[in-house]
Symmetry: C2
């Protein structure tokens, strides 16, 4: 973490300012075991850190990003950056994930396309990109890869693991995989397993990608634009809510006063989606999309206890903050309640809150005032308890 003495001058107050991503490379011989039975070597993990690691390394919080997120959680890579990291409102000095107190790590997940080893990375056996020879990975594999990073940094305990959406799945998996490492968990807009409806949407998105001739069984030289864009547009609808779309777009027409009587973009919502799809193709990799959505499909906490959901958290003793959003239909509140029930039955200390919001799933990125207070309060209690010990 570099020192930024000029932060105040060029970045908004409360921003961590300039940050730099780092790459951790597995040592020669270091091997990542995978749930499918295969292994990976020469793994690289891209990560960023914010705040200062204290002497006894007891102030570490790991924040997990969502499906198409990356390690750039907060701050700016250059002074010219127009946009900060993806959870800027939540991470910084005096913010809920307070960099004055905590040392915060965010790493790009295994299978991703933003610096960490994924299907686009070179296979050390061939020197060529893995593409579809990349093993099918799980949320648990992603967590295992991060454990290598944490070990490498000499960190023994995580004061908290936090994440929203798919990031929440990693946050839940962490204490299941490493109950002695994780001291608290923040599971936001997430689930212990997705519903068949979500599996269906993921399936359709992947079909769109794999049906695009440019995809070419994964051996493409340029992104399968059409397929990836369709997958993104579909996913994007599931991130919003019927109500938020009605508020944002209604049935407003894009340019004309009347219908075009063509198949172009007539409605604002069509133009918006089209824009979202196009932009996504510029920043994301189609094969990564396939692998990560599959990992989401496969995630089911009961798998870690041979299908017995009542035994899943047996070894997990840490407190949880579980947050859902009322209009989130991708990770509906009933799933968060189900997770809360499992934890309560296990005797865990659980704070559960359903935040009333019309933003749908995206609320976890937008309702930062309400969410921030919950996170701030939860982490403050954890921190004080820790300090008091």
């Amino acid at each position: 973490m570099e020192e930024n003495t000029t932060t105040e001058k060029i970045f908004p107050p409360g921003s961590v300012g300039l940050v730099k991503s780092q790459d951790f490379h597995f040592a020669p011989g270091e091997v990542l075991e995978l749930d499918c039975g295969r292994t990976l070597r020469d793994v690289t993990i891209r990560f960023e850190t914010y705040g200062t690691l204290n002497a006894d390394k007891s102030n570490v919080i790991l924040v997990e990003h969502a499906l198409t997120g990356d390690a750039h959680l907060a701050g700016y890579h250059t002074a010219a950056d127009k946009k900060p990291g993806w959870w800027e409102e939540m991470v910084g000095p005096g913010k809920p994930f307070d960099t004055n107190k905590f040392f915060i790590i965010c790493s790009n997940i295994l299978g991703g396309c933003s610096g960490t080893t994924g299907p686009g990375s070179p296979d050390p056996d061939t020197g060529k990109p893995y593409h579809m020879d990349f093993p099918v990975i799980t949320i648990s594999d992603m967590v295992r890869a991060q454990k290598h990073l944490i070990d490498h940094l000499g960190i023994k305990k995580l004061l908290a693991v936090a994440g929203g959406s798919m990031g929440g799945m990693l946050a839940i998996q962490w204490p299941i995989s490493y109950p002695d490492v994780v001291e608290s968990c923040l599971a936001i807009a997430t689930s212990s397993k997705i519903s068949p409806q979500s599996i269906a949407f993921n399936w359709i998105g992947r079909e769109a990608i794999m049906s695009d001739p440019t995809w070419n069984n994964g051996d493409y030289t340029e992104q399968p634009q059409k397929g990836l864009s369709i997958a993104r547009m579909l996913a994007h609808v599931t991130y919003l809510s019927d109500q938020s779309m009605s508020r944002k777009f209604g049935r407003k027409l894009q340019t004309a006063e009347d219908y075009s009587f063509k198949f172009d973009m007539d409605f604002s919502v069509e133009s918006y989606l089209n824009h979202q799809g196009t932009r996504f193709v510029e920043r994301f990799d189609a094969n990564s999309y396939l692998y990560i959505t599959r990992a989401i499909d496969y995630f089911d906490v009961s798998d870690s206890a041979d299908g017995d959901e009542h035994k899943v958290f047996e070894k997990v003793k840490c407190p949880f903050l579980v947050v859902s959003f009322s209009s989130d239909w991708l990770f509906p509140p009933y799933q968060a309640k189900e997770l809360t029930r499992l934890l309560l039955e296990n005797g865990n200390d659980v704070t559960y809150c359903d935040i009333k919001s019309h933003y749908g799933h995206d609320a976890f990125l937008l309702e930062y005032e309400t969410l921030g207070k919950l996170v701030d309060n939860f982490l403050d209690n954890i921190y004080k308890e820790k300090e008091g010990k």
Copy 2:
């Protein structure tokens, strides 16, 4: 309508038995005016009828099919048919649409691919299929085409127009277009205008079709299988509900005991969707899908009153039955309530019922016991009132 003296022997009791579809061809010089400003000639409308037209032609009910439905509402085309028409449970002697009392007509919509003129029909100017030269049509155009059929049959009044889903839109449009013709309206699982969320899903479905290279700007020789299948799978998810999918599939795996760690169909829901997509391509036309979904997008009753929703039903005096289903998120109950509110403000006699169901939008085809009672009762009142006159 042919006589079926052997019906009892070969078909289930309550079935109309053998039926035959008929084609009505526009007379030479007969022209269909369209909302886009263009016209169509040499139009063919495929239709079926059930029951007997009474002497004064006062017992006619027009039933409208949904997006991918057709004129085959009830009964069987051959004794070997395994499946009856699409609303068999609702139409027949003694059934809610009682063929002992009513003369029921169902016609394939304009733009369709099941006998009525659509993008796959020959353009009389060129002798070749219209394909994307077919004009972009509206729900109101579909209704106008049906009016030609009704006129041709010498029918002056419709005792009722009924329909579910998109069929409900036609049912709503009928009294708006022809207030003096329609004597009652049954609008089931439908809306006076769809939400931007539904517009978005339609857009994505069309993008999938139009991105398939086989589609070839609409000039295909075989169906764009992949694109059409993706559009159908996506639409199919919107016809179900989160709850019905959870009940039907859960996270059940298709064949293996464990995940395949591949991108094949692992989950039952994936296999189900794939099957639905494949079957759909065998029976439906991609261009028709484009045109019909566009007509659904464009439908907004307030367009008939220059955007003033309070004036839409000004000339409409007939009673309405409006039915929604609690878990229908494609045509959510709030939209039916909105329609009911507009009608009540207009002084119409409206019966509104939200049927509690977990089937989602498909409930209008599945909850026929509850729906049947409502329809039966509503039509019975209309019929008695008429007879008493």
